[in-house]
């Protein structure tokens, strides 16, 4: 009876979830385009502000560039600032300051304002799935997986995402072309109001080069040489004729600033086109003397990743809903499943928010160039990773980390010996265990500071002692030959207590019968250690080895406080290197890529250990 009520509800749920998923995909695409429109408005506002400052405050040039899309407000007039939908930029060098607010460029007509094809696909798919679901309702309750509906839904989501992506890409290219054209126009206007060439070119705030000098490196200003070379090599073509469907509407660019077009009758036609250079597509516009190139929004605000994520999420949700619908005929299982999910969801939410989320975010960052101050991260694909493979400093840090990790087996040997020596319940042994365990629960920073003092060249207790003993001092932390070894010794001291406690737990788990049997068999202490203790501890040893190696790969606090990676990079370990890359050099993309490479290394090491252990278990 219950199933009779729930089946249609859950089947409809699948359709509703599909609708929501499709909407999500479309909204993501629209959001990407909207974001690029705001970015474009921001660029234009900055150009207008530069012009404003160049001509000394009349505002005519800025108005010439942007026409009715710009409104200006003087700060001393108590202006309310920019209205809704406008991007404002302050022309700060002027006194009083001025807000220039620019309305984002609209889409070229209603037909292109929305991803019509994607919407059509989504509606068609939704209709089909809904029809299928309604047809299912009339039949008997199903227990098999609704594979057909699932495939149809996933296909519909994928097609919608692809169509939406193509629409967004076209819109972004159109915006990029228009921005390049605006850059060229801004240069024209600047030249007319008497700026010299360099000043005028800077107004565009885009990579640019003087026309005559495209083959002369000395006179290229901010444009990358490769781009200049590509522009010089390419015949200037009107994009509309060369790029087919991806056409940038030149009319649109011109229509945005009709006044300029009329006042500069003598200006050469502005012809945006695209060139391929540096692994990217550049949108190029030309003023009289200057080429202005623009790395398109389709690269800096690429919708591909976001759409893939949205599509994946939508697919997952639909699969989930279908799974529930399939369970509708088995209410007990359904109830248990829902209860299980309900109980899991708080923990799952925490993991999603604080583990998986940041993990995926760092993966996303690693595919971009992002300096935290950049408004939009630049999508680079795997360039960060490719660059890292050739980064000698990075590999030197990895090498230092690997070298540092050699302290783990040494620490384990010491810890095992201590574990065997301090077994038992006598008072002295308990105090010994406590003393050995203390470093493991003490703040790394405190330990590092104390050791730094102990190991100091001149004032350190250790060197004082050595000198008094007539052995001479050792540059513990100040020589590249000894610094890492010193850190390794401290590392051993820090982890030995914890490892000892784990070993003692492992030792306690070895049945006494095995030792008794070995004694009756005639095995001496060493043979019992070799044949009973070590094999009995192998899971413990493996656990300690893996966790210690992972911990060792993550060493940071010691280095940060004691050596700061020095001397001469001798203690520059991976995590410290990543930290500096991110927070000192603000190369978050690089740092994220490093983190992931480090993760791969640690993962591979762990996996190899597991394989090794399995092999040992299989062959004895």
């Amino acid at each position: 009876m219950v199933s009779g009520v729930r089946q249609p509800v859950l089947d409809s749920l699948a359709a509703v979830v599909l609708a929501a998923g499709l909407a999500l995909v479309l909204v993501v695409a629209a959001d990407r385009v909207e974001g690029a429109r705001v970015s474009a408005a921001e660029s234009e506002a900055r150009m207008a502000a530069a012009l404003w400052e160049l001509e000394g405050g009349s505002g005519a040039a800025a108005a010439g560039l942007l026409g009715e899309r710009a409104t200006t407000t003087r700060a001393d007039a108590g202006g309310a600032g920019p209205g809704p939908g406008a991007y404002a930029y302050e022309a700060g060098a002027l006194d009083p300051a001025v807000w220039i607010a620019v309305t984002p460029r609209p889409a070229d007509g209603p037909r292109r304002a929305l991803p019509i094809t994607a919407i059509a696909i989504a509606l068609a798919g939704l209709t089909l799935v809904t029809g299928w679901v309604l047809a299912r309702r009339r039949g008997p309750a199903r227990t098999r997986h609704p594979v057909g509906i699932a495939l149809l839904s996933v296909g519909c989501i994928a097609l919608t995402a692809v169509a939406a992506g193509r629409w967004a890409d076209r819109e972004l290219r159109s915006l990029s072309g228009a921005t390049a054209v605006q850059g060229a126009r801004a240069v024209e206007i600047a030249l007319q109001i008497g700026a010299d060439l360099a000043e005028a070119a800077r107004v565009a705030q885009l990579p640019w080069a003087q026309d005559q000098s495209l083959d002369s490196p000395t006179e290229q200003w901010t444009m990358p040489a490769a781009v200049a070379a590509a522009i010089a090599a390419s015949p200037e073509r009107d994009v509309e004729t060369s790029a087919g469907n991806d056409a940038i509407s030149l009319d649109a660019a011109n229509a945005a600033a009709p006044t300029t077009q009329e006042t500069d009758a003598g200006a050469p036609p502005i012809a945006p086109h695209t060139v391929e250079a540096d692994g990217a597509t550049w949108h190029v516009a030309r003023s009289a003397d200057v080429h202005v190139a623009f790395l398109g929004y389709e690269r800096t605000a690429s919708p591909a990743l976001a759409l893939a994520a949205a599509g994946g999420l939508a697919g997952l949700l639909v699969a989930l809903a279908l799974h529930l619908a399939q369970l509708a005929s088995r209410p007990r299982v359904l109830g248990r499943t829902l209860a299980a999910w309900g109980l899991l969801s708080p923990a799952a939410a925490l993991i999603l928010a604080f583990t998986l989320g940041p993990l995926l975010f760092s993966l996303w960052i690693s595919l971009h160039e992002w300096r935290l101050i950049d408004p939009a991260p630049l999508f680079l694909g795997f360039d960060n990773y490719a660059a890292l493979l050739r980064d000698r400093e990075w590999w030197s840090a990895i090498g230092n980390t690997a070298l540092f990790t050699l302290h783990v087996p040494a620490a384990m040997a010491v810890a095992l010996a201590l574990a065997l020596l301090t077994r038992g319940s006598r008072r002295a042994l308990r105090w010994a265990r406590l003393a050995l365990f203390l470093p493991g629960i003490t703040s790394v920073a405190a330990i590092a500071v104390v050791w730094k003092w102990l190991l100091s060249d001149q004032y350190g207790l250790l060197n004082r002692g050595l000198e008094r003993a007539g052995l001479g001092s050792v540059p513990w932390l100040t020589s590249p030959d000894t610094a890492l070894a010193s850190l390794m010794i401290i590392g051993i001291w820090m982890v030995v207590g914890y490892q000892m406690v784990v070993f003692q737990a492992g030792l306690a788990a070895i049945p006494r019968d095995w030792y008794d049997a070995a004694r009756v068999d005639g095995a001496g202490p060493w043979q019992r250690f070799r044949h009973i203790t070590l094999p009995g501890l192998r899971h413990t040893l493996f656990f300690v080895l893996v966790t210690s190696i992972i911990g060792s790969f993550q060493v940071f606090g010691l280095v940060y406080v004691m050596t700061e990676g020095g001397p001469l990079g001798a203690t520059d370990v991976a995590v410290y290197h990543i930290y500096r890359e991110a927070w000192e050099f603000l190369q978050f993309g690089n740092a994220a890529a490093m983190s992931w490479l480090l993760f791969v290394v640690v993962f591979a090491a762990t996996w190899l250990h597991f394989r090794f252990l399995d092999a040992r278990r299989a062959h004895g």
């Binding site: 008794d516 009756v520 068999d521 005639g522 044949h531 094999p535 192998r538």
Partner: protein
Amino acid sequence: MSRAGQGVVLRGVGKRFGDVVAVQSMNLEVRPGELMVLVGPSGCGKSTLLRLIAGLETPTSGEVWIGGRRVDEVEPGARDVAMVFQSYALYPHMTVARNLGFGLRVRGTPAAELERRVAETAGALGLGDLLERKPGQLSGGQRQRVALGRAMVRDPGVFLFDEPLSNLDAELRLRTRDEIAALHRRLGTTMVFVTHDQVEALSLGQRVAVMDRGRLQQVGTPDEVYRRPRNLFVAGFVGSPPINRIGLSRDGSGALAGGPFALAGPSGPDQATLTVRPEDLAVAGPGGTEGDFRATVLRVEALGSEQRVHLDGPGDAAWVARASPALRVAPGARVSVSIAWDRSHLFGPDGRREEGVARPAGQQVPR
């Protein structure tokens, strides 16, 4: 393959763990080639005694002699003993072959001889196909045989078994018990076998040592222990169903009286316990009137080969009688029960058996 077994002699051996006395100072001799079973309830010190013989514990007092050599300061591996543990204590990371050969290997036995002896032992125990397996891949019975083989392969002077059958299911336990008995006949080696199961002890042991609270209660053949228990503990511990008992005390006429009984027992204590084995009770059919007492049948267990008749008397405690399956009685019936007086025993207040046979007052004790 085997040499003659070695005798084991304990002289005044005692063991304390802190304040806890596990084994009271005791003397025990296991004769060469004998299968001796140590039996007692859990915590009676029988396993500690075995570990003292093995050398896994050091005695607090006394001497341990094996094969005419004093060994209480000798390492277990040098005592010429082998031990089978309750848990089997197989080395889990070694194959069966390596488990069997471990004792020989740590003694530096040449590889060729080691292999020969492992193969021989494995063949004798039917482990030939399992030599490359790990203990984790074996059934309980197979592990038990590996544990046995590990002891056999070294050809020791004394075998020590610490409850080796208690982890096996009932059927396998019976079979393995027979195999150990057969092994003893074949090898003729001295064996000391610890168990808490008195049936196992009686069926397996040439002699049985019954222990309780760290003391030896009685050492004797199974028949001696069963027929002539030295004290009330042994009488109660050995035998299943347990022995029937009733408390008696001397009345004015000088008879030991209790329940329906007035016994002309041996002169001696004023308090005594009368014990009668279930098979020494004869239950007459419902019509019968001859007997030593009458009782009501509470329950009848029909076990096929025999019946166990639970009675509500003669005293306050229920008694159990073994009867032929031909007997027809139903719960609730009043029956007459006769006692085979010459197989009954009287125990004094200190638990020691009183010599002489109890008789109902008025009957003559035959001489």
